[in-house]
Symmetry: C2
DNA sequence: TTAAACTTTGCAATGGCATTGCATTGTAAC
DNA sequence: GTTACAATGCAATGCCATTGCAAAGTTTAA
Protein backbone atom coordinates (compact mmCIF):
# COMPACT_ATOMS: atom_id res chain seq x y z
CA UNK A 1 0.00 0.00 0.00
CA UNK A 2 0.89 3.59 -0.40
CA UNK A 3 2.76 2.64 -3.48
CA UNK A 4 1.85 5.94 -4.99
CA UNK A 5 3.56 8.01 -2.33
CA UNK A 6 6.55 5.74 -2.53
CA UNK A 7 6.76 6.10 -6.27
CA UNK A 8 6.52 9.84 -6.02
CA UNK A 9 9.56 9.89 -3.79
CA UNK A 10 11.50 7.41 -5.87
CA UNK A 11 10.80 9.40 -8.98
CA UNK A 12 12.66 12.24 -7.34
CA UNK A 13 15.50 10.06 -6.10
CA UNK A 14 14.40 10.32 -2.51
CA UNK A 15 14.67 7.34 -0.24
CA UNK A 16 11.13 6.51 0.85
CA UNK A 17 11.41 6.25 4.60
CA UNK A 18 8.39 6.09 6.88
CA UNK A 19 8.90 9.66 8.02
CA UNK A 20 9.14 10.95 4.49
CA UNK A 21 6.01 9.14 3.42
CA UNK A 22 4.17 10.74 6.31
CA UNK A 23 5.41 14.17 5.41
CA UNK A 24 4.60 13.76 1.74
CA UNK A 25 1.13 12.52 2.57
CA UNK A 26 0.55 15.43 4.88
CA UNK A 27 1.73 17.92 2.30
CA UNK A 28 -0.56 16.44 -0.30
CA UNK A 29 -3.60 16.89 1.87
CA UNK A 30 -3.02 20.60 2.42
CA UNK A 31 -4.95 23.14 0.49
CA UNK A 32 -2.30 25.73 0.92
CA UNK A 33 1.34 26.20 1.75
CA UNK A 34 2.36 25.27 5.26
CA UNK A 35 5.13 26.23 7.61
CA UNK A 36 7.51 23.96 9.46
CA UNK A 37 5.53 24.62 12.59
CA UNK A 38 2.29 23.63 10.88
CA UNK A 39 3.91 20.42 9.79
CA UNK A 40 5.22 19.80 13.26
CA UNK A 41 1.76 20.18 14.73
CA UNK A 42 0.17 18.02 12.10
CA UNK A 43 2.65 15.24 12.58
CA UNK A 44 3.25 15.44 16.31
CA UNK A 45 5.20 14.10 18.04
CA UNK A 46 7.68 14.04 15.21
CA UNK A 47 10.92 15.89 15.74
CA UNK A 48 11.05 19.39 14.37
CA UNK A 49 14.57 19.14 13.05
CA UNK A 50 13.84 15.91 11.25
CA UNK A 51 10.87 17.53 9.57
CA UNK A 52 13.01 20.50 8.73
CA UNK A 53 15.58 18.28 7.07
CA UNK A 54 12.89 16.33 5.30
CA UNK A 55 11.53 19.50 3.77
CA UNK A 56 15.04 20.51 2.79
CA UNK A 57 15.57 17.20 1.09
CA UNK A 58 12.26 17.48 -0.71
CA UNK A 59 13.15 20.94 -1.84
CA UNK A 60 16.59 19.99 -3.06
CA UNK A 61 15.10 17.20 -5.08
CA UNK A 62 12.44 19.35 -6.64
CA UNK A 63 9.48 17.85 -4.85
CA UNK A 64 8.43 20.93 -2.91
CA UNK A 65 9.29 24.58 -3.18
CA UNK A 66 9.66 27.06 -0.40
CA UNK A 67 7.74 30.28 -0.32
CA UNK A 68 8.55 33.58 1.23
CA UNK A 69 5.18 35.17 1.75
CA UNK A 70 6.39 38.11 3.73
CA UNK A 71 5.42 36.82 7.14
CA UNK A 72 9.01 35.97 7.94
CA UNK A 73 8.14 32.31 8.15
CA UNK A 74 9.04 30.04 5.29
CA UNK A 75 6.17 28.08 3.82
CA UNK A 76 6.34 24.93 1.74
CA UNK A 77 4.12 23.50 -0.93
CA UNK A 78 4.30 20.62 -3.35
CA UNK A 79 5.61 21.61 -6.73
CA UNK A 80 2.80 21.27 -9.20
CA UNK A 81 4.82 21.98 -12.21
CA UNK A 82 8.07 20.67 -13.43
CA UNK A 83 10.68 21.65 -10.98
CA UNK A 84 14.13 20.28 -11.37
CA UNK A 85 16.54 19.53 -8.56
CA UNK A 86 18.37 22.64 -7.53
CA UNK A 87 16.54 24.79 -9.99
CA UNK A 88 12.93 25.46 -9.38
CA UNK A 89 10.58 27.38 -11.46
CA UNK A 90 11.94 30.87 -11.39
CA UNK A 91 8.65 32.58 -11.08
CA UNK A 92 6.53 32.26 -8.02
CA UNK A 93 3.22 33.97 -7.61
CA UNK A 94 1.63 33.54 -4.24
CA UNK A 95 -1.26 34.95 -2.32
CA UNK A 96 -1.26 35.68 1.38
CA UNK A 97 -4.58 36.08 3.17
CA UNK A 98 -4.38 38.74 5.83
CA UNK A 99 -7.30 37.29 7.73
CA UNK A 100 -6.75 33.54 7.94
CA UNK A 101 -3.02 33.73 7.35
CA UNK A 102 -3.15 31.15 4.60
CA UNK A 103 -0.64 31.18 1.79
CA UNK A 104 -1.80 30.02 -1.60
CA UNK A 105 0.06 29.18 -4.76
CA UNK A 106 -1.63 30.96 -7.59
CA UNK A 107 -1.96 29.43 -10.99
CA UNK A 108 0.70 30.68 -13.29
CA UNK A 109 -0.50 33.90 -14.75
CA UNK A 110 1.22 36.14 -17.15
CA UNK A 111 4.37 37.31 -15.53
CA UNK A 112 5.10 40.97 -15.79
CA UNK A 113 8.36 42.21 -17.12
CA UNK A 114 9.94 44.41 -14.55
CA UNK A 115 12.00 47.19 -15.97
CA UNK A 116 15.42 47.20 -14.35
CA UNK A 117 18.04 49.92 -14.15
CA UNK A 118 21.00 49.75 -16.47
CA UNK A 119 23.27 46.79 -15.79
CA UNK A 120 20.92 45.13 -13.38
CA UNK A 121 20.22 41.52 -14.25
CA UNK A 122 17.47 39.47 -12.71
CA UNK A 123 17.08 35.73 -12.91
CA UNK A 124 14.35 35.33 -10.38
CA UNK A 125 11.30 37.17 -9.27
CA UNK A 126 9.11 36.75 -6.22
CA UNK A 127 5.59 38.04 -6.28
CA UNK A 128 3.23 37.97 -3.34
CA UNK A 129 -0.24 39.45 -3.48
CA UNK A 130 -1.91 40.14 -0.15
CA UNK A 131 -5.53 40.56 0.75
CA UNK A 132 -8.46 38.27 1.48
CA UNK A 133 -8.83 34.76 0.15
CA UNK A 134 -12.04 33.26 -1.15
CA UNK A 135 -13.06 31.89 2.22
CA UNK A 136 -12.36 35.08 4.12
CA UNK A 137 -13.81 37.60 1.72
CA UNK A 138 -17.21 35.93 1.66
CA UNK B 1 21.60 74.10 11.40
CA UNK B 2 20.19 70.92 10.09
CA UNK B 3 16.94 72.72 9.71
CA UNK B 4 16.21 70.59 6.72
CA UNK B 5 16.27 67.33 8.60
CA UNK B 6 14.22 68.89 11.32
CA UNK B 7 11.64 70.14 8.91
CA UNK B 8 11.39 66.77 7.28
CA UNK B 9 10.48 65.25 10.59
CA UNK B 10 8.09 67.98 11.56
CA UNK B 11 6.34 67.69 8.24
CA UNK B 12 5.51 64.14 9.21
CA UNK B 13 4.46 65.04 12.74
CA UNK B 14 7.54 63.47 14.25
CA UNK B 15 9.24 65.08 17.20
CA UNK B 16 12.74 65.95 16.04
CA UNK B 17 14.94 64.50 18.76
CA UNK B 18 18.69 64.18 18.42
CA UNK B 19 18.48 60.45 17.87
CA UNK B 20 15.86 60.79 15.19
CA UNK B 21 17.86 63.40 13.33
CA UNK B 22 20.81 61.07 13.35
CA UNK B 23 18.77 58.19 12.04
CA UNK B 24 17.15 60.29 9.35
CA UNK B 25 20.48 61.63 8.26
CA UNK B 26 21.93 58.15 8.09
CA UNK B 27 19.02 56.87 6.07
CA UNK B 28 19.36 59.71 3.63
CA UNK B 29 22.96 58.92 2.92
CA UNK B 30 22.28 55.29 2.00
CA UNK B 31 22.12 54.25 -1.59
CA UNK B 32 19.97 51.27 -0.80
CA UNK B 33 17.66 49.88 1.81
CA UNK B 34 19.24 48.98 5.13
CA UNK B 35 18.46 46.63 7.95
CA UNK B 36 18.17 47.42 11.62
CA UNK B 37 21.56 45.81 12.11
CA UNK B 38 23.08 47.99 9.41
CA UNK B 39 21.68 51.02 11.14
CA UNK B 40 22.98 49.83 14.46
CA UNK B 41 26.48 49.45 13.08
CA UNK B 42 26.36 52.80 11.34
CA UNK B 43 25.22 54.62 14.42
CA UNK B 44 27.09 52.71 17.11
CA UNK B 45 26.93 52.80 20.05
CA UNK B 46 23.25 53.66 19.80
CA UNK B 47 20.85 51.22 21.34
CA UNK B 48 19.32 48.70 19.02
CA UNK B 49 15.85 48.89 20.47
CA UNK B 50 15.78 52.65 20.29
CA UNK B 51 16.74 52.46 16.65
CA UNK B 52 14.10 49.82 16.12
CA UNK B 53 11.45 52.06 17.62
CA UNK B 54 12.69 55.02 15.69
CA UNK B 55 12.25 53.13 12.45
CA UNK B 56 8.81 52.03 13.56
CA UNK B 57 7.85 55.60 14.28
CA UNK B 58 9.19 56.72 10.94
CA UNK B 59 7.25 54.00 9.23
CA UNK B 60 4.01 54.76 11.01
CA UNK B 61 4.31 58.36 10.02
CA UNK B 62 5.00 57.62 6.41
CA UNK B 63 8.62 58.65 6.37
CA UNK B 64 10.17 55.30 5.59
CA UNK B 65 8.77 52.04 4.33
CA UNK B 66 9.83 48.57 5.25
CA UNK B 67 10.84 46.04 2.70
CA UNK B 68 10.68 42.31 2.76
CA UNK B 69 13.32 41.28 0.28
CA UNK B 70 13.14 37.59 0.99
CA UNK B 71 16.23 37.41 3.15
CA UNK B 72 14.15 37.18 6.29
CA UNK B 73 15.53 40.47 7.51
CA UNK B 74 13.42 43.59 7.22
CA UNK B 75 15.00 46.47 5.37
CA UNK B 76 14.05 50.11 5.49
CA UNK B 77 14.27 52.94 3.03
CA UNK B 78 13.09 56.48 2.87
CA UNK B 79 9.81 56.88 1.09
CA UNK B 80 10.49 58.78 -2.08
CA UNK B 81 6.93 59.13 -3.10
CA UNK B 82 3.90 60.22 -1.29
CA UNK B 83 3.30 57.81 1.48
CA UNK B 84 0.63 58.57 4.02
CA UNK B 85 0.69 57.55 7.65
CA UNK B 86 -0.55 54.04 8.06
CA UNK B 87 -1.05 53.55 4.39
CA UNK B 88 1.98 53.36 2.22
CA UNK B 89 2.17 53.03 -1.43
CA UNK B 90 0.59 49.71 -2.10
CA UNK B 91 3.01 48.61 -4.68
CA UNK B 92 6.61 47.91 -3.90
CA UNK B 93 9.09 46.78 -6.45
CA UNK B 94 12.50 45.98 -5.11
CA UNK B 95 15.67 44.37 -6.29
CA UNK B 96 17.86 42.12 -4.22
CA UNK B 97 21.45 41.57 -5.33
CA UNK B 98 22.55 38.02 -4.68
CA UNK B 99 26.17 38.99 -4.65
CA UNK B 100 26.51 42.10 -2.52
CA UNK B 101 23.27 41.54 -0.65
CA UNK B 102 22.07 45.05 -1.35
CA UNK B 103 18.38 45.80 -1.61
CA UNK B 104 17.32 48.52 -4.00
CA UNK B 105 14.07 50.32 -4.50
CA UNK B 106 13.28 50.26 -8.17
CA UNK B 107 11.66 53.15 -9.90
CA UNK B 108 7.98 52.60 -10.26
CA UNK B 109 7.42 50.63 -13.38
CA UNK B 110 4.23 49.39 -14.81
CA UNK B 111 2.66 47.08 -12.32
CA UNK B 112 1.31 43.87 -13.64
CA UNK B 113 -2.22 42.80 -12.94
CA UNK B 114 -2.13 39.47 -11.23
CA UNK B 115 -5.06 37.30 -12.08
CA UNK B 116 -6.63 36.05 -8.86
CA UNK B 117 -8.94 33.10 -8.27
CA UNK B 118 -12.63 33.81 -7.82
CA UNK B 119 -13.42 35.75 -4.66
CA UNK B 120 -9.83 36.54 -3.89
CA UNK B 121 -9.23 40.20 -3.31
CA UNK B 122 -5.82 41.80 -3.17
CA UNK B 123 -5.02 45.24 -1.88
CA UNK B 124 -1.29 44.94 -1.81
CA UNK B 125 1.41 43.31 -3.84
CA UNK B 126 5.04 42.72 -3.07
CA UNK B 127 7.46 42.20 -5.90
CA UNK B 128 11.12 41.37 -5.46
CA UNK B 129 13.40 40.73 -8.37
CA UNK B 130 16.67 38.96 -7.58
CA UNK B 131 19.90 38.85 -9.45
CA UNK B 132 22.95 41.03 -9.83
CA UNK B 133 22.98 44.77 -9.38
CA UNK B 134 24.83 47.21 -11.56
CA UNK B 135 27.97 47.15 -9.44
CA UNK B 136 28.13 43.38 -9.19
CA UNK B 137 27.32 42.44 -12.74
CA UNK B 138 30.07 44.59 -14.17
C1' DT C 1 10.64 77.89 39.44
C1' DT C 2 8.83 73.55 40.65
C1' DA C 3 5.75 69.76 40.17
C1' DA C 4 3.13 66.90 37.34
C1' DA C 5 2.44 64.66 32.87
C1' DC C 6 4.08 62.96 28.90
C1' DT C 7 7.75 61.40 25.63
C1' DT C 8 11.91 59.25 24.56
C1' DT C 9 15.59 56.33 25.56
C1' DG C 10 18.31 52.33 27.41
C1' DC C 11 18.67 47.89 29.41
C1' DA C 12 17.09 43.32 30.27
C1' DA C 13 14.56 39.71 28.78
C1' DT C 14 11.56 36.80 25.89
C1' DG C 15 9.97 34.15 22.05
C1' DG C 16 10.10 32.31 17.43
C1' DC C 17 12.48 30.43 13.68
C1' DA C 18 16.45 28.56 11.07
C1' DT C 19 20.34 25.94 11.41
C1' DT C 20 24.22 22.92 12.99
C1' DG C 21 26.77 19.23 15.66
C1' DC C 22 26.78 14.95 17.39
C1' DA C 23 25.37 10.65 19.05
C1' DT C 24 22.02 6.94 18.14
C1' DT C 25 19.31 4.16 15.37
C1' DG C 26 17.92 2.14 11.10
C1' DT C 27 19.00 0.34 6.53
C1' DA C 28 21.62 -1.53 2.79
C1' DA C 29 25.86 -3.61 0.84
C1' DC C 30 29.49 -7.00 1.16
C1' DG D 1 26.93 -10.62 10.50
C1' DT D 2 29.83 -6.90 10.06
C1' DT D 3 30.85 -2.73 7.85
C1' DA D 4 29.32 1.54 5.67
C1' DC D 5 26.08 4.82 4.83
C1' DA D 6 21.59 7.23 5.58
C1' DA D 7 18.18 8.98 8.55
C1' DT D 8 16.62 10.39 12.94
C1' DG D 9 16.43 12.64 17.59
C1' DC D 10 18.22 15.61 20.97
C1' DA D 11 20.75 19.54 22.55
C1' DA D 12 22.36 23.75 21.57
C1' DT D 13 23.31 28.11 19.08
C1' DG D 14 22.49 32.41 16.71
C1' DC D 15 19.84 35.95 14.78
C1' DC D 16 15.99 38.89 14.62
C1' DA D 17 11.69 41.06 16.20
C1' DT D 18 9.32 42.54 20.03
C1' DT D 19 7.88 43.85 24.84
C1' DG D 20 8.23 45.52 29.79
C1' DC D 21 9.96 48.55 32.74
C1' DA D 22 12.69 51.93 34.78
C1' DA D 23 15.63 56.06 34.01
C1' DA D 24 16.28 60.33 31.71
C1' DG D 25 14.62 64.16 29.11
C1' DT D 26 11.07 67.49 27.74
C1' DT D 27 6.89 70.11 27.92
C1' DT D 28 2.90 72.16 30.47
C1' DA D 29 0.70 74.33 34.16
C1' DA D 30 0.41 76.09 38.51
Amino acid sequence: MNGQLENTLKAKQINPTAMRLLVLNFLQTQSYAISLTDLEKGLAPADRVTLYRTLKTFEENGLVHSIDDGTGVTKYAICKEHCHPGEHDDVHVHFFCKKCGGTFCLPKTQIPEVILPVNFHSDEINIVAKGLCGQCSG
